[in-house]
């Protein structure tokens, strides 16, 4: 089962939080954010690199602005949230791509690139893993993140990405295969096994 980031709240908790948020209750927003922000942030680290935190904040504020018009269950909310995050992330990549062409910033090439996630928290295992996913072709990286980390099902992932379900399945499978063959992934897994055996 691709269950997503561990300790995700159940749908009924999210439903209660959605109701509270729609009533303007700050605690409702807090529960939604705490529950889904980590997955949004990790997805955006892969998609938008260093800009992930800013893009995530923009995403949440837009969600709050438009929540009055949202009528749906937690599953629909999740899909909506990641769709907004995706659009904002893609916008940011376009913007920073343009910025990189700016002569004043040519030194800072690749800031939104695959290594960005690793630079944020050196040595952090999650950051490292995200940096490996970010090396995949974009469609595979997105499919892996939405399926594995966000815990979205194939149909929802397909809606978020604007693709057919078959395409999502294939992209996820290819992405996972590629990751399994990634030498760094293999070595890191072996290293962690060795160190845990030694301790």
């Amino acid at each position: 089962m691709l269950e997503g980031v561990r300790h995700l709240p159940k749908d009924d908790e999210l439903a209660a939080a959605l109701t509270a948020a729609r009533a303007g209750d700050e605690r409702g927003f807090a529960v939604l954010w705490r529950a889904l922000h980590p997955a949004v942030l990790r997805y955006l680290r892969v998609l938008a690199g260093d800009a992930a935190e800013d893009v995530a904040s923009e995403t949440w504020l837009q969600i709050a602005r438009d929540l009055g018009r949202f009528t749906g269950d937690p599953a629909a909310f999740r899909a909506w949230l990641f769709r907004v995050a995706r659009h904002r992330g893609i916008d940011e990549v376009r913007r920073s791509g343009r910025r990189r062409e700016d002569p004043a910033e040519t030194v800072d090439t690749g800031s939104a690139g695959p290594d960005a996630a690793a630079e944020v928290i050196e040595g952090d295992e999650t950051a490292w893993a995200l940096s490996r996913v970010a090396l995949l072709p974009t469609d595979q990286a997105e499919a892996v993140m939405l399926r594995v980390v966000a815990g979205l099902d194939v149909a929802t992932t397909a809606r978020v990405l604007g693709k057919r379900r078959g395409a999502v399945r294939i992209a996820t499978m290819r992405g996972l295969r590629r990751l399994a063959a990634d030498p760094q992934v293999v070595h890191r897994a072996a290293d962690s096994r060795d160190s845990s055996e030694r301790v």
Partner: protein
């Protein structure tokens, strides 16, 4: 339908997926309160706006009209001071003989004209034009273009202004530039 190809228990992949799905760190959850407060504020701000969308529109229209009226008054006040000497120095052609060129964009007579706004621009433009012609304050470039367009060409301005009366038919304050007649412009040297 869980998909976990290549191998269900690929140790390397398991390690990676475990790291990807690790519980949120304190760093990732930093600023929860501030974010929740900001979201609630955004929500409160956005929610009433969606219901009262008409009101800001009405307010902005009223504001825009007031600005236009105030601007017109200011122009009238300024040119009013200057129009007196200008009128004495520049003899205007007699209205009876000067043909009145057609006014671009003038609506058909059957349409109700907007009398409050139609008269001032022409009077103001002409006052400013006469002042400039008399060697006084040069005329604002845009107003001059608009005036020439309204008169049907630079050569016709004198006649146009000489015939200007408050009872003139409605004319939009700012005729579009594209409506500016090109032919009369060439007859620059033809004196009025």
């Amino acid at each position: 339908m869980p998909i976990r190809p290549p191998d269900e228990h690929d140790p390397a992949l398991d390690h990676l997926l475990g790291a990807l799905r690790a519980p949120a760190t304190a760093d990732e959850l930093r600023g929860e309160q501030a974010m929740a407060a900001a979201m609630a504020a955004e929500y409160r701000q956005a929610a009433p706006k969606q219901k009262k969308r008409l009101r800001p529109l009405v307010v902005s229209i009223v504001a825009a009209v007031s600005v236009l009226l105030a601007g017109g008054t200011a122009v009238a006040a300024r040119t009013g001071l200057l129009s007196k000497p200008a009128a004495t120095q520049t003899p205007a052609p007699t209205p009876t003989t000067a043909p009145i060129p057609p006014i671009p964009l003038a609506p058909p007579p059957s349409h109700a004209p907007t009398p409050a706004r139609s008269a001032p621009p022409r009077a103001d433009w002409c006052a400013a034009w006469l002042t400039a012609a008399a060697g006084g304050k040069p005329m604002n470039g845009r107003d001059r273009r608009d005036l020439e367009a309204a008169a049907g060409g630079e050569a016709s301005v004198a006649a146009y202004c000489g015939a200007a009366t408050p009872a003139e038919t409605a004319k939009p304050g700012r005729p579009a530039k594209s409506k500016k007649p090109k032919k009369p412009k060439k007859s620059k040297d033809v004196s009025p």
